[in-house]
Structure formats: structure tokens, C-alpha cells
Symmetry: C2
Subunit: 551 residues, 2 copies
């Protein structure tokens, strides 16, 4: 029996119209460094979005679901692109300006972007790539920055302000969109292989924005001002721009001023209530605040995601600056909102910490399961560690794939029944709190059980003689894999492997204890400072480590 | 270009699974009067829902989209029906126990309900109707109350607890549902004509629950306890049961204890943080609290909807008991969440009041327009009054209609392009605040403009000599309609019509001033105390009023 409710699609077009009409007086403030911030009302932003749509269609000939790329900081022009491009049926392709240039070239070509909107300050990055981007016919430049790098380039060059000036601010005949139609495209930077595109739908963007606005997620309201420090080229700034336009939440846009000092200044001056970004940013801000305190009392919630937030940093914000950091988990493939770590009600501050350092609880639209080493489903008992698999209306079911754009479902990323394999290993408690412990590729698969390398490392690094420790899986004839513990001992330490193993033995199950031990001068690291376990595995395979095997 | 996101339907089944798994420790507390409240965890409620689904299918043979009715108070058994019945693909038909019995008979027959779940205390209402309900094969009785009224009745009678006892608490093979499939059915009581069914879909229930949980709506979180005073037979208790199970919000269920004293007692004892109900309930509670104060400090938000909340009542709660009443607007056809009246940020308490007495702002999923007397669309300027028309994924597009169940789209309820005509007349400001002033049928259509009868009445009743005033439209050869003012003068008053008209003339535009005046002993009222303007119009038409016409 079909219901008799109206069949109205969930679209970005609706978000645009709603923000303009019901919350037209909300504001978008873009930081300009030392100058006066640029302030626009939602009404103006919406009108300029309509002008941009007119310009893209009438002047540049963008039709159908062509891709329009942005290489921009967080600012109000970028927000206009966020609203106009999907609403006109085209696909917003946000370019991550921190990608290696060869990957940028790859993804622009793969997406066949026809137009690139770019901030003037980023022309030195874009201009040298243009000869390698044959699909790009138009470059639209917005904001300050020398235009010289574009001189003599092949695509037509437009100034954003000139391009939209004088065009109608209303009356664009937005197409009737199917909510499952593509709205935005974001490539994962993936440590191995080519970048893979996640093609968000109007439905997924809309539902995700609704969830962002849930009181148990980020809870945006018209009384809030939101500072998205997370870049708009990074998983759509975690959905905050669309969510804010939906909720009537004023936005404070940092533009390119992402250094600790200007961030502290803009928070003190503009008094945002909610912010979101990666732990590195917050760690930098904390150091700045410790050195030169500012008034951060406006912030009710600061979301930290992208990687685990160090508890000491969370405590530092809380105890020294009265700012509450809330952990959240997600990834490009999950739009990204996967879980948010609010503690249960009625706990003391100290009782809350064990919950606040988890990844938190999943919303109803994100279904989760834990898959063990053999693919079997594990219980939610807070102990059984498995790979987290998720399912839901804003979770990717495939990548925007091969040369012809056909969907791509690599086996290591999608289960046969269509769930996303997150590549994260963790546990879930009976009351729904997710704790991620390892990347699946770093887990040691020993005799049909998993051993957490991160857990062994954390215990080892708690030993007073250990400066650093990295644990990797090495092949083992009997068990498949076993852990190899590599340690950096502190100067003058006298600990031997047997003592370290005994220390571990008091903290983990006996079958998890490493037999193989090696000393290293330093743990090899990636360019972003993470342990580079590939290198260690190769050193072991190549016989470059001096390994002691304990009986 | 289709996106590559997963195509996962929005269903009640998901809400059920989520509440059980992620928020299994949240509780449903059902008030029992003087006894110990009945407490069940979400996990238990979910398990019992599975048992109920097994019982309905395996024992009672409920299949497909058959209708299962409930005639129940707000309690945890009713919540189990809310979760189990839609999840198994059947349709939950909530019966309004305050309907006239002939309407109850009509709607059970129209829906062809196969099963009725009923609270024991309501058997005196149901039993006499059963001979007139040929489709009902099973009656399931839950909770206290004499079973004698059912003796000798035709349908098979089951005890709820006996029926579900011993059945599996997991492993029900829930069907794969299309999200547009019907989930629940609720008939509007409609003052004229037969009741009309609104057939909610899984999609509409799910999206509506998400919006209820938005921070700018009711904002339920796991830290809240919600007391739905609004009955679960009244537009699904405004979506709160499903929203609470989605958000992990504990529920306090009042069962049949809806009188002011037990409500005050249960709030003081169980400390809910959010509640929702109609103004009559809150007015009664306020009188009770003024007489015998209780600790209501747990309540952060009390939603009032169904009809306009008297400002004096809102102020009384605020000033004397520290409770914040928030107005919301909706109707059966809108699921019901249409708008919520939170004031803008940064205002003083006094500045907030003009916003708090409006119907508030609409969420992004509810699109609104104002249609003038000739159907033309009116601006949102806070002045132009038109009939509110709405559109959105949880707004009805038709009624569950005629004898064969085909969709019914009466012209006075749906525009040709499918929008719902709410029958409410009002204005919307530039910043999106909706104020409803009249029912469309009570507005005076004079020369292509509308005159608000409610506005004229309110002004007249502010005159010191006027006890009551009712203004109705009467036919006029020149203007189509003109206002007739009927007044009840206070004892000993000396005011004449010319003086009253002059009084009005200082407050409204000249063309709105009534020419026709009549005195009445009392304004005729409906059974719920509203002015009965039908009667006045008929008295005028029949020449029963002594009308003075002012030049």
C-alpha cells in the first residue's frame, strides 16, 4: 500500500531556497586577515548563487550533470558554488589543494571538469597544471591574488565578480531533480593506488545535513555561528555549509587564515559557538592559547575528527580554556558523519572521559557491524575487535570509477552484500560506543584472531625505558601472522626484551605477546608523521633488522 | 548522473533496530497512578516488539499491508505496537478515543482493521462497537481494566502478555520495504463530513522523526527524558515516540493519568526534560502548580501545539514556574511538525515575546506559500495575509480515500499543483516567522481583500464595555462579503455601536470596519468552547438577529 504523502525530493535546491527565504538575515562572514571581514547575508549569498547559476549556464554553457570544480578556501564565494552548482543539476567537484599535483591532474581529468573556480591566492598552484587539464574550458577567479600566473593560458579566464554582475538574482528555472542524482564529487586521497571518487547524491547531502543539525550531532540552530575550520575541499567541510544554510546558522569562514594566531583572533572577535576541524589544528590552537590567551567563551562545542584527538589535548582545552572538544568519526565515503562522542547523561566530569575518548555513537541512519578475521560478525561487547562495516543512505556504495565512469566496487572496500568496509578495526560496547583501535591493514591476524598493534604499542610506550614502539605483522608458518615488536629504547636504559615482554604480559592476553623483538634507532615515519609500517615490514622481509626471538 | 551512494530505505524497521542496539539502556517508564511506575529498557521494548510481530504474523495471520488498530493510552505496550506493526509491513492505525462513536465505527470499517489492540481501561468504549466492526477478527487487550465487557463478543480475544509470551525476541525476518510504503494511518476528525485518513509512509515517519530531533525543533538527545502528553492517537504523538527511539531519548509515558495533579506529580518524580501537549493541558497544569507548586526544574522545553497558546499562560509558566513554553504549529496532514517558535538569538526576554507568540519558523523540508483571496501568491512581508499552503516529504498529498481506498484530493484541501491547503490564514515575515490569524472559512472576503475576523474580535474584546465579540462574514451585494459584528455588552455598559466602531477605527483600516452590528446575550459555542460561527451566520440568514446598519 503506497502512502498518500507528497513525493517531494530531498535536494540542495531546497536548502538554497529555504536559507534565502526563512533565514535571509543570517550571515556569512569571511575573514580577511588584518582587514575588515567580508559580510554577506544568506539572502545575498542566495542571490549571488542564482547569478552564478545564470553565468555558468548562459555564459559558460554548463548543462546537464557536467562537473564544475572548485579550488578554494572556506569563504562565501565557495559557499555560493556549493549551493548553485548542485541546484542547477551540475556536479560540484571540490579539489583538495593539498593533494600532490599529479593526483590533482589525475582527478580533474578523471572527472572531466569543464570549469574550475579558483581563489586568486591559489593560482600559483593551478596555473602550471592547466596544460595537463584538457577538459577545463573555463577558469573563474575569485578573491585577492596576482592573476599573472594565468597569462597566456588556454582556458578562458573570468573574474568571478564580473562574471556574475548584473545577472538576475531570482527566477532561475532550477531543474526538477531526482534526489538520487549526483550533487557533489570528492576524491579520496588514498595512500595506495589512484584517487577514487565518491559521488554524493542530493539525497545523501540533504539527509546528512539533517543529521548534522540533530541535537545529538552538531546541533546547529539559528542562534549559532559555525566556524568550519575543516576545509570545504575536505569531505564538503563535513557537511557544515549545507547544514548551516538549512538551519539558518551564521557562518564564520576562515578563508586561508588557518594558522593558530588568526584562528584565535577570529574566534575572539566573531564569537562562533560551534567549530569543527582536525586534531592537528586544535593542537596548534591550544599551544597558541596557552602562550597568548584569548576569550573563547563563545564556543559551546568544538568537533574534532579525521584522526583520534589526543586526550591530553582535549583535557588541555577543557581545563585551561573551558572549551569542550567532542570527537567524531567519519571518512570521505561516509559523507562523513559516522559517529559523535557525547558521553551518557548523569556522569561526573571524570566519568565522562572514558566515553569522550571513544569515537562515540552512530546515528540511526548509519548501521554498523563488526567483521572478524574470517568475515564472521562479532558481538557488541566492548571487547570483540572487528573491521567496522557500515551501511546507510549517506554511505558510499561504490566509487565513481573507471575510465567510463562506471561504478567501481573493490573487494577490500565493499562487502559482497554492499556494506562499506571502513578499513578501521575496533569494538562497540553494549550501549553503542565505538572505539577504533587499528587500521585493518595494521592488525596482526594470528590463528584466526586479531591482535591490535596499536594496543601493544601504547602499552610498550608506557614503559619508562621505551621512547617509541611500533608493532607490525610478520609471516608465521604456524599462526599465519605474529607480531614483531620494534622498540626505540631511551638513552641509558637497561631494559631487555624479556623484561618488556613481562611488562606487556601483565596487560594483554598471553597469546598476544610478541616472540620477535628488534631495536631500532627511530621508527620510520610518513610525511605526516605517522608510523610507516610498510617500511618496517620491508626491513624485516629484507633481513635488515636484528631480530631476537624469545621462547 | 546517478550517485554512487548506497540506496538504503528510510524505515521504521531501522528505528527499531537502532534504538535496541545503540540505545538499549534507555528506558520507557509508564506511569501507573499510585503504584510503582512500569519500567522497561529500549532493549526490552524492542524484544517485546519482535515478539508482538511474531504473534501478529504467526498466531493471528497478519500479512502484507493489513491494518492493525490501536485504541490505547501512551504507554510502553503502545510503543511496541508503534515499532512492530510498521516494521512488519502492516499499517498502524491509531484510533482517537475521543472521537464520537459513530466516527470510530466509520474509520475502523473504512480502514478494514483486522486487529485492534486495546487498553483494558478502554473496553467499555470498544466493546459496544464490536458488533458494528465486521472486519475486526482479533482484539488484543493490554493493561489493567475489567475484561467483562468483551464477554461473548464475536472477535477472538487475546491477552497481550499471554499472546507474546515465549515467542522469539529476535530473528524476525522483517520484509524489505519500499520507503514510500504506508506505515501508519490517522484519520482527521474534520468538523464537517466524514473523517479522512492520512496515510503516512516509512519515509515520512523517518524524515519527520529526524526533524523532531533537530536542535532547532524539539532537539531530543540521549541526555533527555521526553514526556509526550499529546496522545499517541493524536498524529502519532507528534512523532515523539519514533523520534525518541531514534535519538535514544528515554520516555515517560503518562498512560491515562492526564489530569493536572498526576501530571505535576510525575514530572516532579521522574524529571523529564522535554514535554509536548495542547494548550488546554498546560493551562490546567498551570492552575494546579499555582495552587500546589511542584519542582518542575527538570523541564528545559515544553512544546505547545494544536491551537494557539494564550500568551498569559506562557508568561505564567515562565514567570511563576521557570518553565519555557515553545509554540509549534502543525496538523494531521503535516505529520504534524510544520513550524516551531524559537525567537532569534541575542534578544532580551521582553524582545523575545513577539516571536514566541507566533507559530514560528518552518524547517527546510516544509515549503510554504501564502495564497490570497484570488489564489495569487502573496509576499512574505509580515502584513499580507493569505491561506498557508505547504509542500514537503512529510505533508499529505491526498487522503486515504473512497470506498476502494483510492487517493482522494478534495479541491478545498489540495491545490491543482499538489500543495496542501492548510485552511489557516496568516502572514510570514521577511525572516520567516509565521503568524496564523484565522481559519480560512472564518475570514471575510471583501472586495478581493481579506478581513481577519479574529483581529476585529480581539480589538473589540479589548474595549472595557465588551464581554465577548464574534465577527462573521455576511453576504454583501457590492463587496461580496462584509463583516457583521456581534457583541455581548457587560452589565450596565452604555457603549453604543458607533462608539465601538470608532474604537475599532483607531486600530484597523477604515475599509475593514463593520457596518452591521448586533447584540447577543452570549456568543454560541461549540462543544470544545470555540465560537460557533456557523450558528451566527444561520441566525443572521434567518433574520433572528436585530441588526443595526451604521452609515
Amino acid at each position: 500500500m503506497q502512502s498518500t504523502m507528497q513525493d517531494v525530493p530531498l535536494t540542495v535546491t531546497r536548502i538554497l531556497a529555504h536559507g534565502a527565504l526563512v533565514h535571509g538575515d543570517a550571515t556569512v562572514t569571511t575573514w580577511t586577515g588584518d582587514g575588515e571581514p567580508l559580510r554577506r547575508s544568506f539572502r545575498e549569498v542566495a542571490e549571488r548563487s542564482v547569478q552564478l547559476a545564470h553565468a555558468l549556464r548562459d555564459e559558460l554553457g554548463v548543462t546537464g550533470d557536467q562537473r564544475v570544480a572548485t579550488l578554494m578556501w572556506n569563504n562565501s564565494d565557495h559557499l555560493e558554488a556549493y549551493l548553485a552548482i548542485p541546484s542547477m543539476g551540475a556536479v560540484l567537484h571540490t579539489l583538495n589543494l593539498r593533494l600532490p599535483v599529479e593526483q590533482l591532474v589525475f582527478i580533474v581529468n578523471h572527472a572531466a571538469d569543464r570549469v574550475v573556480l579558483v581563489n586568486g591566492s591559489l593560482l600559483p598552484l593551478l596555473a602550471p597544471l592547466l596544460p595537463h587539464l584538457p577538459s577545463v574550458e573555463h577558469v573563474i577567479v575569485s578573491g585577492p591574488g596576482d592573476r599573472a600566473p594565468l597569462e597566456g593560458c588556454r582556458p578562458r579566464v573570468h573574474e568571478y565578480e564580473e562574471l556574475i554582475a548584473g545577472r538576475p538574482v531570482s527566477g532561475f528555472d532550477w531543474p526538477q531533480l531526482d534526489e538520487r542524482q549526483a550533487a557533489a564529487l570528492c576524491y579520496t586521497s588514498g595512500t595506495t593506488g589512484e584517487p577514487k571518487g565518491v559521488l554524493y547524491s542530493h539525497r545523501s547531502v540533504y539527509l546528512h545535513a539533517m543529521e548534522v543539525n540533530a541535537a545529538s550531532a552538531f546541533g546547529l540552530t539559528p542562534a549559532d555561528t559555525c566556524l568550519p575550520v575543516v576545509p570545504m575541499f575536505h569531505v564538503n567541510a563535513w557537511g557544515l555549509p549545507h547544514a548551516a544554510f538549512m538551519a539558518g546558522t551564521s557562518l564564520l569562514m576562515p578563508d586561508r587564515f588557518l594558522q593558530p594566531a588568526p584562528l584565535a583572533d577570529m574566534i575572539a572577535a566573531e564569537r562562533p559557538t560551534v567549530s569543527a576541524g582536525v586534531p592537528t589544528i586544535w593542537a596548534g590552537l591550544l599551544a597558541e592559547l596557552d602562550a597568548r590567551p584569548r576569550d573563547l567563551s563563545s564556543l559551546r562545542t568544538v568537533i574534532s575528527g579525521g584522526s583520534a584527538a589526543p586526550p591530553a589535548m582535549m583535557r588541555g582545552f577543557h581545563e585551561r580554556h573551558g572549551v569542550r572538544i567532542v570527537q567524531a568519526w567519519g571518512m570521505t565515503e561516509t559523507s562523513p558523519l559516522g559517529s559523535v562522542a557525547y558521553p551518557p547523561a548523569g556522569l561526573s566530569e571524570e566519568e565522562e572521559w572514558p566515553y569522550r575518548v571513544t569515537q562515540g555513537r552512530l546515528p540511526s541512519s548509519v548501521e554498523a557491524r563488526l567483521a572478524g578475521p574470517g568475515g564472521e560478525l562479532l558481538p557488541w561487547d566492548g571487547k570483540s575487535a572487528g573491521e567496522l562495516e557500515v551501511r546507510g543512505p549517506w554511505i558510499a556504495g561504490a566509487y565513481y570509477g573507471g575510465a567510463a565512469g562506471e561504478p567501481l566496487r573493490p573487494e577490500d572496500k565493499f562487502s559482497p552484500d554492499g556494506w562499506l568496509r571502513t578499513g578501521d578495526v575496533g569494538t562497540i560496547t553494549t550501549d553503542g560506543f565505538l572505539t577504533l583501535t587499528d587500521r585493518a591493514k595494521d592488525v596482526i591476524k594470528s590463528g584466526g584472531e586479531w591482535i591490535s598493534s596499536v594496543e601493544l604499542e601504547n602499552h610498550l610506550m608506557a614503559h619508562p625505558d621505551v621512547a617509541e614502539a611500533a608493532v607490525v605483522a610478520v609471516p608465521d608458518e604456524k599462526w599465519g601472522e605474529r607480531p614483531l615488536a620494534t622498540v626505540v629504547l631511551k638513552d641509558g636504559s637497561s631494559a631487555d626484551y624479556a623484561a618488556l615482554r613481562a611488562f606487556l604480559g601483565e596487560r594483554v592476553a598471553r597469546w598476544q605477546l610478541p616472540e620477535r623483538w628488534a631495536s631500532v634507532v627511530t621508527v620510520p615515519k610518513t610525511s605526516v608523521g605517522k608510523f610507516d609500517k610498510k617500511v618496517l615490514r620491508k626491513q624485516y622481509a629484507d633481513g635488515e633488522l636484528e631480530v631476537t626471538v624469545l621462547a
